[in-house]
């Protein structure tokens, strides 16, 4: 295996030359994005010491009207360099319940950086810490330029780097012969001109790698040559251009990608390579051998998602999608999205009643829309991709696997995907911990997952139910069409909502929906409406002494034959701070029903009736539009509460407790 070291040096030289050939190949006739960046990278994987040796030609085009005097790069792998990086300090060495392996450090060293004119910038590189004062963090560098990049100009750099992969942790690394290689090369930050998103003046947006954050980058072209041991199967962003046997135990696999903002790849000797087709998209699944029988679950869920997103959001433009089934012991690399490549996760022996493999496939593929095609800043506004993805995950899962059975389908116990998402938010110990519209790295006291993923899904579902599914689809199609291959922010999405909703509903929801987003997105309040009381009082003739007409008289006796009339009342309360318009459904004992609209503004409201029938039950938000309401059980009240279900669970509990108590006989 040591001969690989020698082979690497020779191959890098050869493959850099070869990459120019690949650059001539095209996927799209017309560019779909501004293609601000171009990367041509030759990288060799050394499986002996788990290192990458790379040569990168990185090109950046200045599309602003500014004279740009420095460049900024992400060096994400340095997040795993030591315990002092911002990532490690924030995560305490654990992410998504997985601990970083002892001694499994990873890092990246830029050994050389030169301009195309030959100016050596290596000594000018400087680590910066734009988000905190952690001078030990080495995930971002700035490189001052001796000559500014003028508007419209392009700068081309040649960068040599050497990277040590971490043992699989936080999406990337190695585990035995399995390699998932993400966030691995020196990568430009995004230069935001004044007016772009929140920039008031031209500036680099290049955040450090945090425990909660993901990524943000410009769209462009990638040509990547990956040299790996000959028996390895390689999967990568973009399309396979060629594969060459180097005759020394290695091979070089070349991939080309257009109009994407990241490039990830994987290699393993164990993969079983499977493929299928959905319309124009070739779906490739790289499966662990012991789980080949699970591959159909990936194909089915990916096809269902492609079809659904195509119908309801827009077209997936790329010709392929690769789904990675991570190795056992490498679950830290599961459930991650990259352009045209996602990592999922299955488990031998887990049946279809638990739809975890489907859910993760659906989720990560939807990220190819929200993060991939619509490139919001994941550091600052993770809700725009994670939340949107969660929202569509539920829609696709429900459409494909059923409302109540889309996560778990056991006899007598089912869980729906959206139910799980909603509970993720409503069951939070402190749902007021931060607004959803908070930068991912600013969730210092927790709540990132619940508020970014789940609450956003609840916010969007509530919006969808208020304005209607067709209107919501129009909103999302418009947002997607307008902002694909760009970098939208909150105001861009809310702007589309404010534009579309009045077209369908006039002023039913006011001039715009800022009032809604102010409460649910920018605020921390909760929503809880309650059907507080039902009253039915028989109306009787007034009694006592009256002097209405100037004459004093005693009340008449009630005629014995008079029909009974009830003065009935329903009281509805707003227990939370969020105010949303709703409806109250009042059901009378003769079957009559009355729907009462309520603007939901007051602390309470009552609806009064004088009818010969009593109110038998009433319900606020009878169509369950406001799924953001944290307690749906208190939305209804009846005079005759159902006792059979209570007995059902009492009987079940009795049997269960009898069995538990019987265990005492084993030792007693």
């Amino acid at each position: 295996m040591k001969s690989i070291h020698r082979a690497i040096a020779i191959l890098i030289t050869w493959t850099v030359a070869a990459s120019s050939w690949c650059g001539a190949q095209t996927i799209f006739k017309q560019p779909l994005s501004a293609r601000i960046v171009t990367y041509a990278i030759s990288v060799a994987l050394d499986p002996v010491d788990e290192t990458l040796t790379g040569k990168e030609t990185a090109t950046w085009r200045n599309t602003s009207s500014d004279r740009v005097t420095e460049l900024q790069f992400h060096l994400y792998l340095n997040a795993f360099k030591n315990t002092e990086s911002t990532f490690m300090k924030e995560s305490a060495g654990g992410l998504r319940g997985i601990r970083m392996a002892e001694g499994g450090w990873g890092w990246i060293d830029v050994t050389s950086m030169k301009t195309s004119e030959g100016e050596d910038l290596t000594s000018r590189m400087e680590f910066i810490h734009p988000d905190d004062n952690n001078d030990k963090d080495q995930t971002v560098i700035r490189v001052p330029l001796s000559k500014p990049v003028l508007p419209g100009q392009t700068i081309k750099l040649t960068i040599d780097f050497k990277a040590k992969l971490p043992r699989i942790f936080a999406r990337t690394g190695y585990y035995q012969d399995y390699y998932m290689i993400g966030q691995w090369f020196p990568k430009f930050g995004v230069y935001e001109a004044a007016g772009q998103r929140y920039a008031t003046k031209g500036q680099w947006n290049c955040h450090q790698f945090h425990a909660n954050t993901e990524f943000y980058a410009d769209y462009g072209l990638y040509d990547v040559d990956m040299t790996v041991p000959k028996d390895y199967v390689v999967g990568a962003t973009g399309i396979l251009m060629k594969e060459k046997d180097n005759g020394n135990g290695t091979k070089t696999v070349t991939h080309h990608a257009e109009d994407v903002h990241d490039f990830a790849w994987t290699a393993s000797a164990s993969y079983v390579d499977l493929s299928d087709q959905w319309n124009h998209v070739k779906i490739r699944v790289l499966m662990q051998p012991q789980r080949v029988h699970q591959a159909s679950r990936y194909f089915e869920s990916a096809k269902a998602t492609l079809a659904y997103m195509d119908r309801h959001v827009g077209t997936y433009p790329y010709p392929n999608l690769t789904i990675i089934d991570p190795a056992y012991g490498a679950s830290g690399a599961g459930g991650m999205e990259y352009p045209t490549l996602i990592t999922a996760g299955s488990f031998w022996g887990v049946g279809r009643s638990l739809k975890a493999a489907e859910m993760v496939t659906v989720h990560e593929f939807i990220h190819n829309y929200f993060y991939g095609l619509v490139g919001n800043n994941e550091f600052e506004e993770a809700w725009l991709d994670e939340g949107f993805t969660q929202y569509y995950e539920s829609r696709v899962m429900i459409d494909t696997y059923g409302t109540k059975t889309s996560m778990l389908d056991w006899p007598g116990f089912t869980i729906g995907d959206f139910e799980l998402a909603r509970i993720g938010y409503t069951a939070m110990r402190n749902p007021k911990i931060a607004p959803t519209a908070t930068p991912a790295f600013a969730f210092k006291a927790g709540g990132y997952g619940s508020l970014t993923y789940q609450k956003t899904a609840v916010i969007l579902t509530t919006l969808e139910r208020m304005v209607g599914r067709p209107v919501m689809d129009t909103i999302m199609k418009t947002y997607f069409a307008r902002w694909q291959f760009k970098h939208p922010c909150e105001r861009d999405f809310v702007g589309v909502v404010n534009e579309i909703v009045p077209k369908f509903h006039g002023t039913k929801f006011g001039k715009n929906l800022e009032w809604y987003f102010d409460q649910v997105l920018r605020g921390t309040d909760i929503c809880d409406y309650e059907l507080t009381a039902i009253e039915n009082n028989p109306v009787s003739e007034p009694k006592g002494r009256f002097d209405d007409d100037g004459t004093k008289a005693d009340s008449k006796k009630e005629p014995a034959t008079s029909a009974k009339v009830y003065a009935s009342r329903v009281i509805v309360s707003r227990l939370g701070e969020i105010r949303l318009p709703t409806t109250v459904l009042v059901h009378f004992e003769n079957g009559d029903e009355v729907r009462e609209p309520w603007d939901g503004q007051g602390r309470w409201i009552d609806f009064k009736y004088r009818r010969p029938e009593k109110i038998s039950w009433a319900k606020v938000d009878p169509d369950t539009l406001l799924v953001i309401d944290v307690n749906l059980n208190n939305n209804c009240k009846t005079l005759d509460p159902p006792s059979t279900p209570i007995w059902k669970y009492t009987v079940k509990f009795l049997f269960w407790i009898q069995n538990v108590l019987s265990l005492g006989s084993m030792i007693g």
Partner: protein
């Protein structure tokens, strides 16, 4: 042969003790009812006058359940927390009842009579209680030591694993390796009780030693019988699950029907305990060649006096 004989003898002997099984079942039910009623009150109070419980009729509606737990989880947790004290009570009750069961079973001719049953319960309670404490400590120590060792072995073997398949089987093997000693200890405890009853043993320590001695000396017979016996409750529960799935609990009528079936199952479990003791006693007698004489039977009832080798 000993195993099958003991099994069939145990079956015959326990088959005539339906009344005893009913007494044990009723006592178990009485212990469980307060908790079940507390559970019902918590549910009823939590839902109040809401219509939401209707959503729980077809199955456990996840949203209704979670919203209930969010708003009223404390109520249910209070009930669940009380379970531990009831479990301890149940262990004491079972310790108490074991004396009665074994005192009845020791004599083939003797039929269940409440007075002699409860006399047996009282007579052996303190000896069985001391035995319960000894076995409890042994169980705790063995569980801890074995648990730590097996967890370390499983972790070490899984460290370089590239597939969950061998890891799965390693874990299954670890569970079996954990359960076998636990079962052996519980078996030893049963045989210790049998020894106490048959030999009027006063020392719980000595009885415990005899129990373990018997289990290890007659390992294949004792363990084989235990495995055979364990099939009975397992089959019963499988049958119950199938019936539950077929009937469901989606209406007042099916709830009532399932309630009766559940209670039948619990009565069955009470009988199975007697069946276990009867079979174990038959095996113990046959392998130890224990004669039944009047002197051996502290609570000798009228008519019980002849020597029998089972």
């Amino acid at each position: 042969m000993n195993i099958l004989n003991a099994f069939s003898n145990g079956f015959r002997r326990s088959g005539s003790e339906i009344k005893m099984a009913l007494v044990i079942y009723v006592l178990n039910l009485l212990l469980a009812i307060p908790l079940a009623l507390a559970f019902r009150s918590a549910l009823a109070a939590g839902f109040g006058m809401s219509l939401a419980p209707e959503q729980l009729m077809q199955g456990l509606d996840f949203t209704a359940f979670q919203d209930f737990m969010r708003a009223n989880g404390e109520r249910l947790l209070t009930v669940i927390n009380q379970m531990l004290s009831f479990l301890i009570l149940s262990m004491l009750l079972q310790t108490f009842l074991a004396g009665g069961i074994l005192s009845v079973l020791q004599d083939h001719e003797r039929k269940f009579a409440a007075s002699s049953f409860f006399k047996g319960c009282g007579m052996y309670f303190f000896r069985f209680f001391r035995l319960f404490l000894i076995v409890g400590v042994i169980l705790l120590l063995v569980s801890l030591i074995l648990g730590v060792i097996l967890a370390a072995v499983v972790a070490a073997m899984g460290e370089t694993s590239t597939s969950e398949v061998p890891d799965f089987w390693i874990r299954i093997a670890a569970i079996v390796l954990f359960l076998v000693p636990i079962i052996l200890i519980l078996m030893a405890a049963d045989y210790a009780k049998i020894h106490i009853v048959l030999h009027d043993e006063r020392s719980a320590f000595r009885a415990c030693g005899k129990g373990f001695g018997f289990v290890f000396r007659k390992f294949f017979a004792a363990f084989g019988l235990e495995l055979l016996l364990l099939l009975v409750p397992i089959l019963l529960m499988v049958l119950y699950v199938l019936v539950d799935l077929a009937i469901g609990m989606t209406s007042g009528l099916t709830i009532l029907l399932m309630f009766f079936i559940q209670q039948l199952v619990m009565a069955g479990r009470a009988w199975i305990k007697i069946f276990f003791y009867a079979s174990e006693m038959a095996l113990y007698r046959s392998l130890q060649r224990v004669p039944i004489s009047e002197a051996d039977i502290p609570l000798a009832s009228a008519g019980a006096g002849k020597s029998v080798i089972v």
